[in-house]
């Protein structure tokens, strides 16, 4: 299932810590990079779109555990990852699709990446 996430500028560091918890390793700290997307109010977002198994959604909404690869001195800030998880708004496929917001990590599952970002009310920033 494809999952597309819009991450506001203020949550990028936290969201990248969450990405390291949920994905594979330190390179996932770069999951949310350039602020290439904007909402109607001019707020900027980084976006990530990826295929994930059904277990991903469960893990994203369950208690977070530090990955085995992350040993002292730790790479991941679990506090930051927890803040990102608390800000996660995941579309459940039934209610109205959530619009991207500056205080939320907005995620839509089951749509193509570009369609999901458009459904969140985001447009690509002109280069």
């Amino acid at each position: 299932m494809r999952i597309t996430v819009a991450c506001p500028d203020a949550l990028r560091v936290d969201a990248n810590n969450l990405a390291m918890v949920l994905a594979f390793g330190p390179p996932d700290e770069l999951t949310y990079g350039a602020l290439n997307w904007t909402d109607a109010n001019g707020n900027l977002y980084a976006a990530a779109s990826f295929e994930a198994g059904p277990e991903f959604l469960g893990a994203a909404q369950s208690a977070l555990a530090r990955p085995a690869w992350d040993v002292e001195p730790y790479t991941i800030s679990m506090a930051a990852a927890g803040r990102a998880q608390a800000a996660l708004v995941l579309w459940n496929g039934e209610d109205d699709m959530p619009q991207a917001m500056p205080a939320a990590l907005t995620a839509i599952a089951g749509m193509g990446g570009l369609a999901a970002l458009a459904a969140m009310g985001l447009m690509r920033v002109a280069p």
Binding site: A23, P27, D28, L30, A48, S49, F50, E51, G113, L114
Partner: protein, 345 residues
Amino acid sequence: MFSDPARAGFVYDPYAAGVLFQDTAGATPANVFGQPVGRINDLSGRNAHALQATAAARPAYARMPVGGRRNRLPNSGSVGAVVGVIGSGGAAPAGWSVPVQLTREVVAIGETGGIPWFDSRLTGTLTGGYFLNFSEPTATPAADGKTWNASIYVQAIGSVVGADALTVVPNSRLAGGAVKHTYPSTTVGFPGAFTRFVTPATTLLDADGAAGNVAFMLAYLRLNCTGTMDVTLRIGGRQVEQASAATVFQTVNGNADISEVGQASRFYLLDDLVDDTLAVTLPAGTYTIATGDDAGVTILTGQALSAGAYTIPGPRRLFAGVATDRALNGTETAALTAWINARRP
């Protein structure tokens, strides 16, 4: 020609065996369509492998048949189907949409002549129409004035109890998925052999039906129920195409896996156009960079690159990429164009 180790550059060919990996180390092959590609090995002999360490930013390994994709359904095969009662362990194929008024059971899954099918048994009590959608209502975007057809293979398995008509129906949908207009149907009946049925060529118009613009094309089977019923239908080969006439069935198992019996496949990196990239480290130089995508072969000459990471071009579908730090002559350009074209659909 492009394998001179004395020159900088790369040759990327997703068609080649053993060049795609899910990870950057090259330990886990990407050999199933839809798997992420974290590394494509360079075939030029220069070890200029392109990498993506961040999991979410990896493109996918994908294929489509020569001639391109015609079946616009997101899933037309049996992927996702599980034998059993739907809701009690069984499951319909991905995208196949049936309402809950009847008990729905998948009783068998198979393939005939390259056409994947599943046997769907419907039991219960119902009077009137029962609708079996080819896909979710918002799965196939459409627009005003375009002509479509839909096709499906159907066979009645055993006797038909409690149903007196079966048709295949095209209609248009509004942006939210609600019905906009229903167009003339094709009678299916209850054939004893696995038979293909095609809707009439159907031009979807904003002017037809409910107010609002055409946003999606949906086709469905309409089963007319007459009371207590027990019907088993073998259903397969769902196809929706933007064309007047039906063409050979294409199996679509998601965007990354499209195939057609009797037709060669082409292999590519599928970019989500959101964040996917692959990068290679190159020395500074003036490069010729060639890529093959849906539109054709693009050869950029005189590309001055600084030393360091170079992001390989990421069109929606990248069938091949070649770079060399020199200009090409006419013969070389023609040979490179032909080589890339042979990898395009």
